[in-house]
């Protein structure tokens, strides 16, 4: 018996660092993946940890929201199905997920291309499977931001979802929330300032 909690450095943080750098792998994540391999119900943890990253990556390459959702859904279903064959080679789990995502995006583009474009017009933009560090950082930034939105005070969160997800007008939101338009704009500002402050501090 060595140490009891909470004396070891948090390895979930290492996971985050690894993801940020796109290179490292942590023992903690390996345990999670292996747990999910022997018990698929534990895949849920991996999903919760990586949903935002996968979605951020897909949404950055696929503009249409419904397509982004289809592709994201496909990625996790495929990952769950292929998990038993996933082998540990020091590749971060998120990199494996993003590779599945990159392929899914290409498939989608090809299917769309067959319908709308000349067949010899391949969609190059989505094709690069190796992510640049800068793109990795951008994904990490967005994933973190999406998580933080869920923790905003209730009414600010509501304004953010109504405005950015539902794309409602300020007037409509004001009516739905029973507030003045000025108040809704203030809430929008407060929410975004809040998010910016949290993104700048405390997430190193």
């Amino acid at each position: 018996m060595s140490t009891r909690r909470p004396l070891r450095k948090g390895s979930a943080k290492d996971v985050d660092e690894g993801v940020r750098l796109g290179t490292e792998q942590s023992a903690g994540e390996r345990v999670l993946v292996e747990a999910a391999q022997s018990d698929p119900a534990k895949f849920e943890v991996l999903y919760l940890l990586h949903f935002e990253r996968v979605y951020a990556f897909v949404a950055s390459r696929v503009r249409e929201r419904s397509t982004a959702e289809d592709v994201t859904s496909e990625v996790f279903h495929k990952a769950l199905a292929s998990l038993p064959s996933y082998e540990w080679r020091g590749v971060p789990f998120v990199a494996w997920l993003l590779r599945i995502a990159a392929n899914a995006i290409i498939d989608h583009a090809k299917r769309a291309a067959r319908e709308f474009l000349a067949p010899d017009d391949p969609p190059d933009r989505a094709a690069a499977p190796d992510l640049q560090a800068s793109e990795m950082r951008a994904i990490e930034y967005r994933a973190q931001l999406f998580l933080l939105v869920r923790r905003l005070p209730e009414v600010q969160k509501q304004v953010v979802y109504e405005r950015f997800v539902e794309q409602r007008s300020i007037r409509e939101i004001a009516q739905r929330l029973g507030k003045t338009e000025g108040a809704v704009k203030q809430l929008q500002l407060r929410a975004i300032q809040n998010l910016r402050a949290q993104m700048e501090g405390g997430h190193g």
Binding site: M1, T3, R4, R5, P6, L7, R8, K9, G10, S11, A12, K13, V15, G28, V31, L32, S38, D39, P40, A41, F43, E44, V45, Y47, L48, L49, F51, E52, A56, A59, S60, R63, R65, A68, E69, T72, S73, F76, H77, L80, Y141, R142, L145, F146, V149, R150, R151, R163, F164, V165, Q167, I170, G182, K185, Q186, Q188, L189, I192, L195, R196
Partner: protein, 339 residues
């Protein structure tokens, strides 16, 4: 004035962005506005909450379909599944133990022994001679202690202790350098004889003797963490969801402010109330035993906690994970695998 105009300016940018899918070219670049715009731009890709939740249930359904064969494979290997459902708590600890990190921990342990008749059960030194981990048994509960380190800094806690003689215990703490909030009194709203002190390490001790309280089936716990929280009412659903907790007695004001609540997790309890007066939030460390660490960890993240450490098997035979709740408390979630 200036703030209001910033709200308007920002909304113009957002409006433009949502319509044209790109940020408005800024003619007079304002740094404040530009940095807000960056955030707003990223929010355009914000996933729908309903989608995130629906996909999760989808995957759970799918996983449960393939579970049959995988479950038999894992159970055959280790016998772990059985151990988890029967004995998920480490012997000597209850479901909830305060983990108090103060310096010097060795001195703090002396305080626990001399004031509360604590019995040292374990002491693991770090290479530099400080205390990496220790356990002190008090009554039918325990307190875990450490000097901490850079990752786990000092975090005094508030603890409710049930003792046989609160007046004598109170006096001993004062002799050991504690300062008094108030001496034991019969007028405490709980109906218990109840006094309160702050020790020289910064911990609060609410020293009480139960009167007219019917102990639970397993008896009253000597050691109960006491959390003073802002928006304490939100802690109850958090603990219910994550730990399968049960609120045993919730006293609320008509406005919904929690004056006091006792929450049971497994065979132990803790207490919460809305922070007030001298009893302000003290984010602390708590060690909790649950039947399934992985599931509790996932539910915690789902409920807005952040990960400190993903589930892993520890060298001392627990499966353990760490999360930090929205109030800043660290929960060390563990399942004793029983070796």
């Amino acid at each position: 004035m200036a703030k209001r105009s910033l709200a308007l300016q920002l909304d113009e940018v957002v409006q433009w962005m949502l319509v044209s899918l790109r940020p408005q070219p800024e003619e007079t670049p304002d740094r404040e506005l530009a940095s807000l715009t960056r955030v707003a731009q990223a929010l355009r890709d914000l996933p729908r909450e309903e989608f995130r939740v629906a996909l999760k249930s989808d995957l759970q359904r799918r996983a449960s379909m393939s579970e049959g064969k995988a479950a038999s494979a894992s159970a055959a290997g280790t016998g772990e599944a059985k151990a988890k459902t029967v004995h998920y708590q480490r012997p000597g600890l209850t479901a909830i133990t305060p983990y108090i990190i103060v310096r010097p921990a060795a001195q703090f342990m002396e305080f626990l022994k001399s004031c509360f008749d604590g019995i040292e059960q374990m002491r693991i030194p770090a290479p530099d001679g400080s205390i990496m981990h220790a356990e002190v048994e008090i009554g039918n509960g325990a307190i875990e202690v450490s000097d901490g380190n850079a990752e786990y800094p000092t975090a005094p806690a508030a603890v409710h202790l049930y003792v046989d003689d609160p007046d004598a215990t109170y006096a001993r703490t004062l002799q050991a350098g504690a300062t008094s909030f108030y001496a034991p009194t019969d007028d405490h709203p709980s109906g218990d004889r109840w006094g309160a002190v702050k020790d020289s390490f910064g911990n609060h001790w609410y020293i009480a003797k139960p009167r007219g309280w019917t102990p639970g089936p397993e008896g009253l716990r000597s050691v109960q963490p006491y959390l003073h929280l802002r928006e304490a009412h939100k802690m109850i659903p958090f603990m219910e969801t994550v730990f399968g907790a049960e609120a045993l007695g919730v006293h609320k004001s008509p406005e919904g402010i929690v004056h006091h609540a006792t929450i049971r997790i497994g065979n132990a309890t803790l207490e919460i109330d809305e922070a007030h007066g001298e009893f302000q939030p003290m984010p602390c460390h708590l060690h909790v035993y649950v039947p399934d660490t992985d599931a509790a960890y996932a539910r915690a993240l789902e409920s807005g906690a952040t990960s400190i450490e993903a589930p892993r098997n520890t060298p001392y035979g627990d499966r353990a994970a760490g999360v930090k709740d929205a109030w800043g408390n660290s929960w060390f979630i563990a399942t004793y695998l029983g070796k």
